[in-house]
């Protein structure tokens, strides 16, 4: 029943062949076809722009006050592309292979290969749009390296790559708005998918300024609504990031793929107290130049700079000599947790490790700069000063951000970092064409499950978002819409619209009428705590079972005791949040169920029952080489569908970064 529609033929020919044979829609017909794009991050904005350019009538929606605020903007380190500008042995195949391996062999080969193929077009497109990537003195593009790879293929713009790429896509979309091809709806939140005759034909959304519900028709609906990391309450996601759009689609029949695959990012600023509302990432690119260590002595209370070199444990370099500080994220995160759990953590909470730049400041950058300037035998002071200037150019904004949050100067003392929830590999199940199992309903970017398997490599999220939006959906959507040219726009007075809107209104009314005692925020915090403790970096069957019970209990409490102030027909951020938290609670249960079902360790999913003697994740390819796609069957009830993963080219091996 799950047809992933992977084209036949050799791996490297699949996308080429697909494009050569896919159905097309002629320009005159495109103008008659309406497409709804929900979410305006990298995937949504690029899709809206690209489809607008093709001539489709696009309506784009975002809950923020402007499409430019989508959380893709916060991505820091960079975007991968198999350009091989560095002549260091990179190729489309190697990017494909690294990504499949990095994802611990839980991604679909054909999708990943396509991603690697179009990665080069993305860079070309972005440069043409005016994205100011970092450049060398000769005027050509510069690269840096990221975790899980041994080549330099990451393009970047200081520590603000996501911002620059998103602004590029946003501008491309605003150009289409100006040309009349895209209609933009800001401060609008999608609250349901409208189904007509088994096909997605529109959405119901709420105008967040006046609270009115609106009906919008589309021949196809694209969900580009990002990840659901906020189910953990504390994550590096934006405050508004949510699962609601994807969850509503799930409840309308779309399968949810691998929901338990969560990426815990190793380098985030540690939690400082109960007031904490979100966590802040320090880019993985910092691991290019920072060395991670803890004291060799337990409960060492000395200041970092007072601990001599020989009493420091550079545990990543020790455990993984081949990749050192640049092991993939899941590996680095678990290693940090292992050290802290063993009592070697630093800082007041003891839940942190050091990320130290001094060595490279002096040895890598300081010495190079001194050499350039012809300074012979420079002293350490000079080297640090020179090194600082280079580091400032590379990551200045990140260092500033760290100092603003912690009050400590990372040029002087090592950063304190700890893993935090960052990205969700899971998402709505989609086929090769990015269509969910619901006809006409597509899912792009982080919101879908497709390309990263059980662990995403750094600088690959931006790549996937833009690949889906600029270079995949413009082709694949035609294959569906070519058969829809005869479908007249369905008036929003159609029974399906009326009923769906009524269901949405009823739910809002129910929420508002609970008039309980506890705030939405307090429920969200409790959910996050359950998820982090029992479905976080390490999971086991008992904990997951407990979590499921606790979440079901929490859900009951929520629906009987939540307090939402204000009214419906007005701007009401608490009501918006309540709807999202209600969906997160349901999602949390499914995540635990999925984690419980997957009794193996792979990528970011670590089941304590399945580990090697050295404590590394142990995959079980015999029993779990599949995508778990869950079908919603009613309250707390899901049916598992399996899409078996075939690896014809990248044969699964135990991942080793030693």
């Amino acid at each position: 029943m799950l047809d992933s529609k992977i084209p036949a033929g050799p791996l490297e020919q699949k996308w080429v062949d697909y494009k050569g044979h896919v159905k097309l829609v002629n320009p005159a017909n495109k103008r008659k076809l309406e497409v709804i794009v929900v979410g305006t991050g990298l995937a949504g904005a690029s899709a809206a722009a690209a489809l607008g350019e093709l001539g489709y009538k696009v309506k784009a929606f975002c809950f923020q006050d402007s499409p430019r605020r989508a959380h893709s903007i916060a991505a820091q380190g960079g975007i991968n592309a198999a350009k091989n500008y560095q002549n260091d042995g990179d190729s489309v195949f190697r990017l494909f292979y690294d990504t499949v391996k990095g994802g611990d062999y839980r991604a679909r080969e054909a999708n990943v290969h396509r991603l690697a193929e179009v990665s080069v077009n993305i860079i070309d497109q972005c440069v043409a749009q005016g994205v100011p990537f970092a450049r060398e003195y000769g005027g050509l593009l510069n690269n840096r390296s990221f975790g899980g790879t041994q080549v330099k293929r990451t393009f970047y713009a200081a520590g603000q790559t996501g911002q620059q790429l998103l602004i590029g896509a946003y501008q491309a979309m605003e150009r289409q708005v100006a040309l009349g091809n895209v209609e933009m709806f800001s401060r609008h939140e999608m609250l349901d998918v409208v189904m007509v005759d088994g096909k997605a034909r529109g959405i119901i959304c709420r105008n967040l300024v006046n609270g009115e519900l609106e009906r919008h028709f589309g021949h196809a609906v694209l969900l580009c609504t990002g990840g659901y990391g906020n189910v953990f309450y504390l994550s590096t996601n934006a405050m508004g990031s949510n699962v609601t759009a994807a969850w509503k689609a799930h409840k309308k029949g779309a399968f949810f793929g691998n929901p338990c695959f969560t990426q815990i990012h190793p380098t985030c600023i540690p939690v400082s107290g109960d007031h904490q509302s979100k966590l802040t990432l320090m880019s993985e690119s910092l691991r290019n130049d920072g060395r991670i260590w803890v004291p060799k002595k337990k409960d060492d209370t000395r200041k970092a700079n007072d601990i001599p070199e020989e009493e420091r444990d550079y545990y990543l370099e020790r455990r993984y000599p081949a990749f050192g500080n640049l092991v993939p994220r899941d590996v680095a995160s678990r290693a940090a947790k292992e050290r802290c759990d063993a009592g070697y953590g630093v800082g007041t909470t003891k839940q942190a490790v050091y990320l130290d730049f001094k060595y490279n400041l002096i040895n890598k950058y300081g010495k190079t700069e001194a050499g350039k300037l012809g300074i012979e035998n420079p002293d350490t002071e000079t080297l640090i000063r020179l090194g600082k200037e280079v580091v400032k150019e590379e990551y200045g904004n990140l260092f500033d951000m760290y100092e603003k949050i912690t009050g400590e100067n990372p040029y002087e003392v090592p950063m304190r970092i700890y893993p935090a929830v960052h990205y969700t590999m899971g998402g709505l199940w989609v086929d090769y064409e990015l269509m969910t199992n619901v006809k006409g309903l597509y899912c792009l970017g982080e919101a879908n499950f497709s390309d990263h398997g059980a662990n995403r490599l750094g600088a690959s999220a931006l790549m996937q978002g833009l690949a889906d939006g600029y270079f995949v959906i413009p082709y694949t959507i035609g294959n569906y819409l070519a058969d829809e040219i005869a479908t007249k726009p369905i008036p929003t007075t159609h029974e399906a619209f009326v009923q769906t809107e009524k269901a949405v209104a009823d739910r809002i009314n129910t929420l508002m009428n609970i008039k309980g005692k506890q705030t939405v925020e307090s429920f969200h915090k409790r959910l996050g705590k359950i998820m982090w403790e029992k479905c976080g970096m390490a999971r086991n069957a008992q904990g997951l079972q407990e979590a499921i019970t606790e979440i079901q209990q929490l859900k009951k409490e929520f629906w009987s005791d939540v307090r939402i102030p204000g009214g419906i027909a007005e701007m009401n951020p608490e009501l918006d949040k309540a709807g999202r938290v209600a969906d997160f609670i349901e999602l949390g249960e499914l995540m635990c169920k999925d984690a419980l079902n997957r009794n193996e360790s792979c990528g970011g999913h670590f089941r304590e029952e399945s580990q090697t003697e050295e404590g590394e994740a142990k995959r079980d390819d015999v029993n779990f080489a599949y995508v778990a796609a869950w079908e919603y069957k009613g309250e707390s009830n899901w049916e598992l569908h399996k899409e078996n993963l075939e690896f014809e080219v990248a044969k699964p091996t135990q991942r080793s970064y030693k």
Binding site: E53, Q125, R135, L140, S186, D400
Partner: protein, 253 residues
């Protein structure tokens, strides 16, 4: 950092909706940690307000890491508060001491009407971008990314201008409510790159025209915008836009 607790008084602008007259309300907040961010302090107050059955304070915020540009509070007479090159969300409470009174207002400008409390409508910025803040290149048209080298200094300057987060602090700080720093940052970003040069003239003319239409004031080079810009966008961009605009206007037909 030394950690301490404090009690504060907040004077916050409350306004039910666009048509409401609005006014200040005072709220005491207790046991605020110096390690909290400013918005986390507002979160604490909002939780209390909800428990007391009152309407919480509405404010725009999203990423809380200083990059999305959503947060927009005018704190004690300065957009984004007292710290240099900072956004409200990155302002931390160690900037204050026990007993302080903090007055919080929304951005004020005719072009940024208040929607509710501290939330304002900044869609004028989107419309300014629509007027020409882009390079017209359809997807798939691009040549190889390294086909056109870009002088590093210019690429760096373009990046510095492109770092604008569109928060609107420049408008909020300007005595004329001018959006010229915002407009000039975008015009500079694109004019400095060879890819942007075919549309240089029309871009400068159209974006300025749209800015005027939206009801922003004219720039008088006071420099307040630059002083409060969270991303340190320089007013030399305004001078560059002035040149771009004047030349474009002189040679246009």
């Amino acid at each position: 950092m030394e950690h301490y607790m404090m009690n504060l008084t907040l004077k916050v602008w409350r306004q039910k909706n666009a048509n409401d007259k609005g006014g200040f309300e005072s709220y005491p907040v207790k046991n605020i940690s110096s390690e909290m961010s400013f918005l986390e302090m507002i979160d604490v107050l909002n939780e209390e307000l909800i428990r007391d059955g009152k309407d919480p304070i509405a404010f725009d915020h999203d990423c809380r890491e200083g990059i999305c540009g959503a947060c927009s509070m005018y704190i004690n007479g300065r957009p984004h508060g007292p710290w240099e090159q900072n956004t409200t969300c990155q302002l931390h409470m160690r900037a204050y001491k026990d007993g302080d009174t903090i007055t919080i207002e929304p951005w004020r400008a005719n072009a940024f009407p208040v929607i509710k409390d501290l939330v304002v409508d900044r869609s004028a910025f989107d419309r300014i971008i629509q007027a020409g803040g882009y390079i017209s290149v359809n997807t798939g048209n691009a040549v190889d990314a390294n086909a056109m080298p870009v002088e590093k200094d210019k690429a760096d300057a373009a990046f510095a201008a492109a770092a604008c987060i569109g928060c609107g602090a420049c408008v909020a700080a300007c005595k004329n409510s001018s959006a010229l720093l915002f407009v000039s940052a975008k015009v500079s970003h694109l004019a400095l790159l060879p890819q942007g040069s075919p549309e240089r003239k029309s871009r400068a003319l159209n974006m300025v025209a749209q800015m005027d239409k939206e009801g922003f004031g004219a720039c008088t080079n006071t420099g307040a915008c630059e002083a409060v810009c969270p991303k340190g966008i320089s007013i030399t961009n305004i001078a560059r836009l002035n040149a771009e605009f004047s030349l474009a206007a002189l040679v246009s037909q």
